[in-house]
């Protein structure tokens, strides 16, 4: 398996790891399928005020989740979904058989948006 520099960097130094609960929590994936992603989202005035994550799975899953917390910072709620899968895959250098790692993250993000503030 090849890992891009960006994936490696986010895997080694994940950004915005959620160390405590807070905000809307969205979770997706399961152990059987090999990946679980949790996002902790706080909105302020329809914008992303804070986005943190936890993840279990392959390096791409961790890197995608970590990268998204940065890429989506400050974004308007309306523009969050759907994720631009193509662009993300290109940006992070994901092999084609690893696209499902982005989908898990997308599902988790959707779950977070659908969640009430906790």
């Amino acid at each position: 398996m090849r890992y891009s520099e960006l994936v490696t960097d986010h895997f080694e130094h994940p950004r915005n790891v959620a160390t405590a609960a807070g905000g809307r929590v969205g979770r997706a994936g399961d152990r059987r399928r090999g990946a679980i992603v949790e996002f902790y989202l706080e909105l302020d005035n329809g914008r992303v005020a804070s986005l943190r994550f936890r993840a279990w799975g392959c390096p791409h899953t961790i890197a995608v989740a970590s990268w998204l917390t940065g890429a989506l910072a400050d974004r308007e709620q309306q523009t969050l979904l759907p994720l631009e899968l193509d662009n993300i895959a290109t940006e992070l250098g994901l092999p084609t058989d690893k696209w499902h790692c982005i989908l898990t993250a997308e599902d988790a993000l959707r779950a977070a948006l659908e969640e009430k503030d906790s």
Binding site: F11, R31, R32, G34, I36, R54, W56, P59, D97
Partner: protein, 396 residues
């Protein structure tokens, strides 16, 4: 070149050539050395021939065999093919017993025969990875030709009781092949005590060169074997091809050193392996795959709860160890050997084989413990709190 900081704990995959072996090999390569064709009748050829025969005696000595019972091959893969297909070609259409935990070279040779008229029985070992004599006894039939069971498993290091299985085979008049690629030079072998008919060896598992192997063929079994590579008639017509003097001298010296150093090295490796295991256990939720005692000294195969297999491997990439592959949804799969021991695919993928060897030091073991502990802890901390199975989860 391996990176300087990398720690090599993958001796079961392959070993570096011992410098003492490399020196002997180098002396057989160039013009000023013993380079001639051992099949040539001139003086240079005869010097090469003498070197080849001396090596044969060294390989035989490690096994308690006669030199004439050793056939040179290009590796244990070829030895396994020659033993299994060579026996079946001589007596086609009969029944063969092997186990799910065998090396691919055995399994694929058997699969080839299954496609060509042989009937196969595949034993599934207990969860501890041991194939028992009574399992073998239960599988034998009137028309069983061959049993092929390995000595030491390449993933778990688990040792099968070859002497007992062999005794059973001999009693029933069934030929017995043993893949000993992972046992030679690691635990004692004595064909005088072990009723084995055919035994496969590889040089590169014990500090000899890759691309070099041997097949032990018990004297009275020779005629029951058909050559798989035809040509010049070398090796009593059982394996044609110009003999590779430097490779043969390499395997000879490797087996000689292994014989001299076996007892001491077994103790040393067992100690290092315990040190590693004690260090890793402190992490919690770490489990040994395979029988905890009936194992060759250099092996430690463990699975870590609470981390993704691929992430664990990537995090430990500076550690040269063996592991399963990517996640379920990609095509790669966890080890079929570990699956046969009852592990789930995710568990197999979150398993790591540490294999220690001649150049492993206490410092390397301590560094390995530190790196593994750091990364496992980090990944566990990154994971969502709930739903990630730790020790509490019965399955893991």
């Amino acid at each position: 070149m391996t990176e300087p900081s990398s720690i090599y704990l993958d001796y079961a995959a392959t070993t570096p050539v011992d410098p003492r072996v490399a020196e002997h090999m180098a002396a057989c390569l160039t013009r000023d050395g013993c380079f001639a064709n051992p099949g040539s009748s001139h003086a240079a050829g005869q010097a090469a021939r003498a070197a080849v025969e001396q090596a044969r005696a060294e390989v035989a000595a490690l096994l308690g065999a006669a030199p004439a019972e050793i056939i040179w091959t290009s590796g244990a893969t070829e030895s396994d093919n020659l033993a299994i297909k060579g026996v079946a070609d001589n007596d086609p259409g009969r029944h063969i017993v092997t186990a799910k935990t065998e090396h691919k070279a055995v399994l694929d040779s058997c699969a080839f025969l299954a496609d060509n008229g042989c009937e196969l029985s595949y034993l599934v070992p207990a969860d501890n990875g041991v194939v028992t004599p009574s399992q073998v006894a239960g599988a034998l039939r009137e028309d069983t030709l061959l049993v092929s069971i390995m000595h030491v498993n390449n993933e778990t290091g688990v040792i099968n009781d070859i002497a007992a299985i062999g005794a059973l085979c001999r009693e029933r008049g069934v030929l017995f092949h043993v893949d000993a690629a992972q046992s030679a030079g690691k635990i004692p072998i004595d064909v005088a005590q072990m009723p084995v008919d055919l035994m496969s060896f590889s040089a590169h598992k014990l500090y000899g060169p890759k691309g070099m192997g041997a097949l032990y063929v018990r004297d009275n079994v020779r005629l029951r074997l058909q050559a798989q590579i035809h040509g010049g008639g070398q090796e009593s017509n059982l394996r044609s091809g110009t003999l590779a003097t430097h490779q043969i001298v390499g395997i000879g010296e490797a087996f000689r050193l292994a014989r001299l150093e076996l007892d001491e090295e077994m103790q040393r490796l067992a100690g290092l392996r315990e040190r590693l295991w004690n260090g890793l256990q402190r992490l919690g939720d770490v489990h040994i795959n395979g029988h905890p005692e009936q194992r060759a000294p250099g092996f430690l195969n463990v699975r870590f709860g609470g981390v993704g297999g691929e992430s664990l491997q990537f995090a430990l990439r500076d550690l040269a160890v063996s592991s399963g592959s990517a996640c379920l949804t990609t095509s790669a799969q966890g080890s079929y050997v570990l699956r046969a021991l009852g592990l789930s695919d995710a568990e197999a993928m979150a398993s790591i084989r540490f294999s220690l060897g001649r150049f492993t030091t206490t410092a390397e073991i301590d560094q390995a413990i530190e790196r593994v502990s750091r990364e496992v802890t980090r990944l566990r901390e990154l994971a969502p709190d709930e739903g990630i199975p730790h020790a509490a989860d019965g399955q893991s």
